[in-house]
Symmetry: C2
């Protein structure tokens, strides 16, 4: 069911009918439209999470966006974007694209046992929580994450019913009040404190962290800035499935690495070696090449949830289930599923390259 004029796709999740905004129109892409009880027309919308812009030059970008105003820095996490909300007595979770996700919704229920989500939504029924999911998940391969098994949610914005964000300090107070997990606050800066911000980013980089999101205190202006260690790792990991990615994926990353190294005064030799090594190690060359795939592990309450998740995933990409077993995780028995995303296009291209098939530029 697809209403192409509005870029709206009608979906259903466990008996709940909703639509998602497939592309920007009067609502941004990823907006979830929820219906009234008579299902006649949208009763409420969970606004799509806005794109956060980047800059290649941190100091110049800050001066452009914030002038001399102060701004807050928060740690940017490398997971997937999720909006958690309460509707018709149910706790639900929508991905960036606006799908109500069976995996994420189930985990929202677990997070509600670990944190006082119920209290928050009882007091703020129309608000919703935007955050990053880290740990075992079906969307984002995790690297060097030191968390207990299963999925973990870290809130970075609290949205009012009209889709605008709460001011940063109000958000921080609310999250503290209800004891909800949040991304790390890294301090308040302004354009004159360039050297302090550089020191912060060098430290995040040296610990392999992704980077920062910078926000005006009212959270209306935002930008992000990522570290070369993260970009270089992305290049290495991305190359394995590189023909299934936008070509811009690699270009924007190697460009960012060079600009970061220059602006923050990192060692050019060291980062030349690391960047080159990402290409050297990321591109598959083995004669025993088996094709392009990424392995994921997820923990679910039941085979039913896996079936729902699987049917969502296979609408996007080929999936191979590798192993299922029951495990004790976060205080409950859960179905552990290891599966692989199969990147057919990359697999075929690399096969041809390794086999020396002649080609024209």
């Amino acid at each position: 069911m697809l209403d192409q004029d509005q870029g709206i796709e009608h979906n259903e999740y466990n008996g709940l009918v909703y639509s998602r905004q497939r592309k920007d129109s009067s609502f941004p892409r990823g907006t979830v439209h929820l219906y009234n009880e008579d299902q006649s027309r949208p009763g409420r919308s969970i606004t799509g999470f806005p794109h956060i812009k980047r800059t290649y030059h941190l100091h110049a970008g800050i001066k452009r966006l914030f002038k001399n105003d102060s701004f807050k820095a928060e740690e940017k996490l490398d997971g997937y974007n999720l909006r958690v909300f309460s509707h018709a007595g149910r706790l639900l979770a929508a991905t960036r694209g606006g799908f109500i996700c069976p995996f994420s919704t189930e985990w929202a229920g677990i997070w509600a046992e670990e944190y006082d989500l119920d209290g928050f939504f009882r007091d703020y029924p129309g608000h919703y929580l935007c955050g990053e999911v880290l740990g075992d998940n079906p969307y984002n391969r995790q690297r060097g994450v030191d968390l207990s098994p299963g999925a973990h949610f870290f809130v970075f914005e609290v949205c009012k019913p009209d889709g605008t964000f709460l001011p940063v300090s109000t958000k921080e107070e609310l999250l503290r009040e209800y004891g909800l997990p949040a991304v790390k606050e890294l301090g308040t800066f302004n354009a004159l404190q360039g050297e302090e911000l550089y020191a912060l980013l060098r430290d995040l980089n040296s610990r392999g962290k992704e980077g920062v999101v910078l926000k005006s205190p009212d959270s209306s202006r935002r930008m992000k800035f990522v570290t070369p260690e993260c970009d270089i790792q992305d290049i290495k990991d991305g190359l394995e499935v590189g023909f299934d990615l936008d070509m811009g994926f690699f270009q924007s990353r190697y460009m960012r690495v060079v600009y970061f190294v220059q602006e923050l005064g990192l060692d050019k030799d060291e980062y030349s070696r690391k960047l080159g090594r990402a290409f050297m190690d990321g591109i598959p060359v083995s004669e025993n090449y088996q094709g392009a795939r990424e392995e994921y592990t997820v923990y679910l309450s039941s085979r039913n949830t896996w079936q729902s998740l699987l049917s969502m995933l296979i609408s996007q990409i080929k999936i191979r289930t590798l192993e299922t077993s029951w495990q004790h995780v976060r205080g409950r028995e859960m179905l552990k599923v290891r599966f692989a995303r199969i990147y057919t296009r990359s697999g075929k291209r690399y096969q041809r390259m390794i086999k020396g098939v002649l080609h024209q530029d």
Copy 2:
């Protein structure tokens, strides 16, 4: 004047009417159609130079193309492709795209004084010479070329009137007989002599040479293979004007580097460093960035030739003349012109990056 159905464009060079094949149809792209004296219909065609395929894996590619047959190796030169022919008493030169080029045609006249081109075309009036132009030229920035000032022509194929190539040994004999300049012959090999060919390529690589073209003795099957030193240098130089190039330009090169290093057993650390350094040094980061340009020098007989060349060049790209002067070159007074190709798109993109303009991925 454009005949879109046939992909044919009608042109004129110094009173000579011709057409060029803008895209492959019954004739390959770059074919030059010459007219009879009454100009009623094409009297003769200079076939477009065929694409030569590549492989990412030398040994596997050789086995595919040549099986166990022997093949000839010739040095691949890094210049621009030119076809020189004689028509209606005039010596003419056409670029890969099928333009009769005022610069190249003038230099063909100079080469005819240095070598016995006249003798060759007197005896083989319907044949034509395909070769690479090195040295000062308007199309291909030269690196580490140790030649006297001006343009130099090196023949790699002799074409029969029907557009097919002479067998390699016949070509070599003819070029020797008329004393015409040729690309370097590097020997005869077969798929069992992989190690010898690897040694040859390692040597070319260590001397910064571009690579090899491998041909069956009858020159009907051909493939090319380039060295990582050349690809890495291309990446560095290409990045300066990178937003004006195909994105595939960089991807194919860093992939080739990795496959070459692996197959020919080069040092991975050394080439990681070199590859990374190409990105580090190739991407402009200076606050005093002045825009993307490439500088070229050409030597011409007169300002008229420069005007003809310039009007050809500016149909493709913005040109800025930097300096003109008269110089004694190759035994004659010639107009030396330094000019720059201005890459507007790359210049603007890098300006925005350096100035920290916020952007969305």
